[in-house]
Amino acid sequence: MTILVAALFLAGCSKKESTETSSEESSSMPAAAATPIDQSTVGEVTGKIMFQGTKPKLAVIHMDQDPVCVSKHSEPVHVEDGEVNDDGTLPNVFVYVKEGAEKYTFATPTDAVTLDQNGCMYKPHVVGLMAGQTLHIVSSDATTHNIHPLPKDNREWNESQPPGAAPLDKVFARPEVMIPVKCNQHPWMRSYIGVVNNPFYFVTGADGTYTLKGLPPGDYTIEAWTAIGGPSGQTQDQKVTVSPKGTASLDFTFKS
């Protein structure tokens, strides 16, 4: 009898859980009544992210506690936040359309964005993806990681990924820039995920440049985010107008 009652209760519980998940997923669907994009008129925004000031000294990461991590590196590894390219530009800057693209809707991409854990570092360090798009988390390390995103607007979760475990496929339902990701077992590990509602985003590389392609003509607010300058980083907004088939130029300059 007791078991029966317990089973009934539990069955009720698990049902509730499944409806919750689905409602969360559905809320990520873009709103209806969209303005279609005329592909023949789209333009782009391009520019460079500069750094002004003295280059921060990057500390060496000590991985001593986990010999698996140590064995994967022959050279000392430096922290990635605060990195500046040799030409004074900034890598790992997340640039995206913050305002101006709301009237369009975009299908959620079906291909996943991959985040790898390799040598007890996240590859890439900064990731962009659309709300509802799958983040495919894999591990190339023979040690256990835990993936712990620290969002403000999305659901927080924290899961282990032992060596050989299946990749984790996760979705962030709401746009949020940026979500820090941490591995508590290797506290130095940090990645940032930019979740946006449109496909117009870019992460700068070794040349510090970006290009946002396929923008319909109109006025936009472009935001750039960098980890430089503190634990939660800093952002800058600039307005820009894209003319039909035009290329707008927009540079950003950050100080430490």
């Binding site: 500390a59 060496v60 990461i61 000590h62 991985m63 001593d64 506690q65 986990d66 000392p76 922290v79 990635e80 936040d81 605060g82 040690t143 256990t144 835990n146 924290n158 282990s160 820090p180 941490k182 508590n184 077992q185 290797h186 506290p187 130095w188 590990m189 940090r190 980890a227 503190g230 634990p231």
Partner: protein, 272 residues
């Protein structure tokens, strides 16, 4: 049935005693000055308990076998007890148990009732989910103040130092390995950043919880024995359940000669 129980109990007793006595699984090497006392007390307790264990289990086995109902006309011993016997074994147990405890008193007192020797090397140990970091005061001998808002694990500022503004913090050295010189008293100041952790080094015979909000000092001295095994490298493990990565929370203790230690500390300082 009586014989069967007697045999099984005897076998279990014999096997347990053998495994302990033959050191099939035994204490790891002892590398601290206070460890020998702990080991002695452990062995004393083991012998003491072993004797009681054997007597009680074999007594049980013997009685169960000897006083089984054989279906004969034997009458049971009609007795409600014996006050003299009760008084005897109560007194004996009290003296033995309390006495055993008092014998270990000095070891505990040496570990905890006195502070570290003057001139002991002070190292701050910080636990967090799921790692240890160690801080050395550097040449000035002073630990700089900590600022919670400065903590940023991704840039290596695990403690929350402000090296730009606090002069005492400038030369503080933060490491991921606990390097200590041999034969020199060491005092660890244990603290935690988030939840409860513990600092356990089997070979040092040291175990102490780390709690947020408290700074708990412990002290010990590593002996020459430490350099003779495992290249002086021993595991520090967490023994206080601290979350999903608890089983992976560890660091290494590296015992070195005084000269090697100084060299190592300089290398660490260079990579801050």
């Amino acid at each position: 049935m009586g014989l069967a129980i007697a045999l099984v109990i005897t076998l279990i007793t014999a096997a347990s005693v053998y495994i302990f006595a033959a050191h099939v699984w035994w204490l790891p090497v002892d590398i601290s000055t206070h460890g020998a006392g702990i080991d002695r007390q452990f062995i004393l307790t083991l012998v003491f308990c072993g004797v009681i264990f054997v007597l009680a289990q074999l007594g049980l086995a013997l009685f169960v076998w000897k006083y089984r109902d054989r279906g004969d006309k034997r009458k049971v011993t009609y007795s409600h007890g014996n006050n003299r016997l009760e008084a005897t074994w109560t007194t004996a147990a009290a003296i033995l148990f309390i006495g055993l405890n008092l014998m270990g008193y000095r070891i505990w007192a040496n570990m905890h009732f006195t502070g570290a020797a003057p001139g002991a090397l002070q190292i701050e140990v910080q636990g967090q989910q799921f790692a240890y970091y160690f801080r050395y005061a550097g040449p000035d001998g002073k630990f700089g103040p900590l600022h919670v808002d400065k903590v940023d694990d991704a840039t290596g500022n695990f403690f929350g130092l402000d090296r730009d503004h606090d002069p005492d913090s400038k030369d503080d050295i933060v490491t991921a390995t606990l390097g200590i010189p041999v034969n020199r008293p060491v005092e660890l100041l244990l603290r935690s950043k988030d939840v409860g952790h513990s600092f356990y080094v089997r070979e040092l015979r040291v175990q102490q919880d780390m709690l947020p909000g408290l700074e708990i000092p412990i002290h010990f001295t590593a002996t020459d024995e430490a350099l003779k095994h495992q290249n002086g490298r021993y595991e520090i493990v967490c023994t206080q359940l601290c979350g999903l990565g608890h089983y992976k929370m560890r660091a290494f203790l590296q015992v070195m000669t005084e000269a090697d230690f100084e060299k190592w500390l300089q290398q660490q300082a260079a990579s801050q």
